[in-house]
């Protein structure tokens, strides 16, 4: 049954999200929460991994969720692999069909005011969803107890200063250009991992 849910949810996500990668993060977060498949925290940890392993970000994300959910079934390791297969195929299948049709009818598609109208409406929504991901992940990092859907004073009691400082230092670092080139995201991730190991592991800073 779990596999059916996996297939359906990722099929729908693949069918409606335009803009790839980070656009899919919001719907995927919602889905894993809805079924209790994993915590937001686990998912965000994986975003760092997905970004620093080869392959399209969105496929990495789908595969990961599939492995984790499939692994919780009675099938064990086989379930993990089956889960990964199911999510990967589900997320790719809608594109495969749509692309084949659209490539055939390219000129009609590109000049159709209906298609352009729909895209005009979807683009800002996707950008809004990415903004929502920004705020949600910001909260898990800095205010881990805050529930954005039911904000209480309780949520502000734990405030992770150190993480806020890391964000504040890394943001300008990610935007500067050295000889016209930005610092590569993978390098930033490795750097942040080192900072994390040193601060929270070696020195033992508590938030």
């Amino acid at each position: 049954m779990e596999f059916l849910y996996l297939f359906w949810e990722f099929f729908v996500i693949g069918l409606v999200t335009i803009g790839g990668g980070y656009a899919m993060l919001s719907p995927v977060t919602q889905v894993v929460e809805k079924y209790g498949w994993m915590t937001e925290n686990e998912l965000y940890n994986f975003v760092g991994i997905a970004e620093s392993t080869p392959g399209p970000f969105a496929i990495n994300l789908a595969t990961f969720v599939g492995v984790r959910v499939g692994g919780t079934t009675a099938l064990g390791v086989f379930g993990s692999i089956l889960g990964a297969l199911v999510t990967t195929i589900a997320v790719v299948l809608p594109s495969l069909v749509i692309i084949i049709v659209v490539t055939k009818l390219f000129d009609k598609f590109n000049n159709s005011k209906y298609v352009q109208g729909v895209l005009y409406g979807i683009r800002p929504v996707v950008v809004g969803l990415i903004l929502a991901s920004v705020i949600r992940i910001m909260c898990t990092v800095i205010l881990p107890n805050l529930n954005l859907k039911a904000i209480t004073g309780e949520g502000f009691k734990q405030f992770n200063w150190i993480s806020l400082i890391i964000v504040a230092v890394f943001f300008p670092l990610s935007r500067i250009k050295i000889k016209g080139k930005k610092i590569h995201p993978i390098l930033l991730i490795v750097l942040s991992a080192v900072v994390g190991v040193v601060l929270f592991g070696a020195i033992g800073v508590t938030q």
């Binding site: 335009i18 399209p56 790719v92 495969l96 084949i100 109208g117 800002p124 992940i137 954005l148």
Partner: protein
């Protein structure tokens, strides 16, 4: 266009999937280099068209591009082989890695590293937002839609898939209304000017069609060029590090 074997398609896309990090535009720059410059499988104009398709159809941009190129090269089976090729490396690597993650998830050092990495991931997503927001037209609909989608997705449990669908319907309605209003205005203006209704309708249609397609094409083309250069920059960056 040359006849390319399915095996060649598979290998090429497998390699592309294996060596691009982050996906999307980074991958497109590599495909351009590989397929247009080196192998001469497709023209750069074809590549641009495929990018337009990949960006404006649902799904993962990198996979969409692969499917589209595969289809152009060898039809239906080309599309399937290219898609499998580009997805397979991720599939293998992530499946393997997930088991490792599960084993070490409670390790102190792993947790420490990921406390740092999460802060960095925040920034990556902020940058994705800045980039995509920058590609939007500056108009009221876009501003309101971004904020509304953000608010609903953040503070309620409303299904975000429905948000996307609602956005699509609204965009279509607004575009059609805008079109109709503009047509009417133009028609009224020209009736006042020369009073010849037949002529008015004729010229109205022709100007509308030509300016529309022209604008649409120009916008799309400049978008592509922007994103392609972005991709190439990213590509150079990763190349530089190796």
């Amino acid at each position: 266009m040359k006849k390319v074997s399915l095996w060649q398609i598979f290998i090429t896309f497998f390699k592309t999937g294996l060596f691009t990090f982050g996906g999307g535009y980074a991958m497109i720059a590599i495909l351009e280099e590989e397929l247009v410059a080196k192998k001469n499988w497709i023209t750069s104009e074809d590549m641009l068209n495929m990018l337009v398709i990949a960006e404006s159809t649902p799904g993962v941009i990198a996979v969409n591009t692969a499917t589209s190129v595969g289809y152009r090269l060898r039809g239906f089976f080309g599309a399937i082989i290219a898609t499998i090729g580009v997805v397979l490396p991720s599939f293998i690597i992530i499946t393997g890695l997930s088991f490792v993650i599960e084993l070490i998830a409670d390790n102190k050092w792993y947790k420490a590293a990921f406390t740092g990495i999460q802060a960095c991931v925040t920034i990556l997503i902020i940058n994705a937002f800045i980039k995509m927001a920058g590609q939007l037209k500056r108009d009221w609909f876009n501003v309101i839609a971004v904020l509304a989608a953000f608010a609903v997705a953040t503070f309620t449990n409303f299904n975000v898939i429905f948000l996307i669908l609602i956005g699509g319907v609204l965009g279509l309605i607004i575009t059609l209304i805008y079109e109709a209003v503009r047509k009417k205005k133009q028609a009224v203006k020209e009736v006042v000017n020369d009073g010849d209704i037949d002529k008015t309708i004729e010229s109205d249609i022709s100007t509308n069609v030509s300016s529309d397609t022209l604008n649409g094409n120009l916008n799309a083309q400049s978008d592509i060029i922007d994103s392609a250069t972005d991709g190439i920059n990213e590509n150079e960056q990763s190349g530089g590090e190796k």
